[in-house]
Assembly symmetry: C2
């Protein structure tokens, strides 16, 4: 296979990659841009839930990327450009030299997702996570511990933002994502389905290490700073990670990982 050489940053074939920093936050067409070899590997793997649309790379990387590029369907174009053209397209210095345009998976039906859960299932519920690093970190840990999916409330940022995908090491592309509205309604629906719903909150009396799961389990995480709303916590089994007296501050993605490790023990 040969790449399609791009010499003009305004070539319409690579328009979706132009000024990606600006577009990351406004893309509304079900597409996303991912970067880097690790993420491209996941996008082209059978585990991916997303469809690659095209790839844009630094020409010098074409040879080295053959193994992953050959995993692409024949109808997925591979564009190659010199580093200066690539930087002009992206709008900043793209030192990784690898971008891919993908199509997000179609929406997952909440009812189908919930009724497929088993006693061994673990899901993460992200509430009001607006920081892309934290969102990516939550997905990375969800994938590492084999969570069945991540449920997002209506106040979460888009996990398909380029930085969130990168921090997740591509986990966003292979994890079932269920958008389910307001946090209180999500919890009510999980409870109705017989899921044990655990809210991670520093204010809880029950320490995580004493908590045992009983059937399908959901781990509810709130944003750093404000944390989970009291109305959400009141509906859940509230669990805390005890911390050292003088410094009760744990990153939300880290707290989620500790809870996942705890509840997914063999």
């Amino acid at each position: 296979m040969s790449p399609i050489i791009i010499n003009d940053p305004f070539d319409p074939r690579i328009a979706a990659y132009r000024d990606i920093r600006e577009r990351d936050l406004t893309r509304r067409n079900g597409q996303f841009v991912a970067e880097g070899e690790v993420v491209l590997n996941i996008l082209t793997s059978t585990a991916s839930l997303c469809r690659p649309i095209s790839v844009l790379i630094d020409s010098r990387r074409f040879e080295g990327l053959q193994p992953v590029l050959q995993a692409l369907d024949a109808d997925v174009p591979v564009y190659a450009a010199s580093q200066p053209v690539l930087d002009a397209i992206a709008g900043f210095h793209l030192h990784r030299g690898i971008l891919a345009l993908g199509a997000k998976p179609g929406p997952i039906n909440a009812g189908s997702f919930l009724s497929a859960l088993t006693d061994r299932s673990t899901v993460v519920v992200a509430c009001g996570i607006g920081n892309h690093d934290n969102m990516g970190g939550i997905f990375r840990s969800a994938a590492a511990f084999g969570a069945d999916g991540v449920i997002l409330d209506e106040r979460c940022c888009d996990p398909f933002y380029r930085k969130a995908i990168r921090v997740s090491v591509g986990a966003v592309l292979r994890t079932p994502i269920v958008a389910m509205g307001a946090a209180e309604q999500i919890v009510d629906r999980l409870l109705h389905q017989g899921v044990g719903v655990v809210a991670m909150t520093p204010s809880a009396e029950e320490p995580l290490r004493a908590a045992r799961r009983n059937g399908p389990t959901a781990i509810v995480l709130g944003s750093e700073g404000p944390g989970l709303d009291p109305s959400v916590i009141a509906r859940c089994r509230a669990v805390s990670i005890p911390m050292s007296g003088g410094f009760d501050s744990l990153n939300v993605a880290t707290a989620g990982a500790i809870a996942l490790h705890h509840f997914t023990r063999a």
Copy 2:
């Protein structure tokens, strides 16, 4: 108290704050620049191991910061500038509007540090951690779980880099830091001192959840990607965090937090 008004970005009194992005990586005089209110709060608290040298803020924040500024010794100058002057000094748009110049703590003697450890002590050993986000995350968790200190091998980046301090939520400023040379020598010295040394590595057979501590405990973390050298792992009790089949990738700071949670249980 009144702030010292700065109108000239080249005023020699605020020279240490100039072009901080450039200087972060080259500062060699035992000083550091920290940013943000949370970090300033820690720098001025009794828990801080560092000495504030001066503060530079957006003039509009002076009133709101009175509680924390009043905790400063009288001989610590507070400089105030308009946002444009502040941005011109820093070399980029400083949206937080709060900078502080501090003096790092003096070096901690390794022998004294090790001989003060008790059976309940837990320390983190960071080996080859070159990413400032990961470094900051390790310190944040070390503080949250009350670790006695963080030992750095000679290949680690500087935890007093501005971004590492910020990600640590100021934990870098209040955590004993011991620089101790090569990783192998650090492990040998810990073992000689009777410390149980646990290497976190995905290759280990023993799962973390089965591991019990016995006396003072050190948790050894390697960089993402290459991980710990086999020569380091061979000296330690190797422990793994079992992960889901298809995605064996956990952030190093996250793995450290899971290990700290496990080994510091009440």
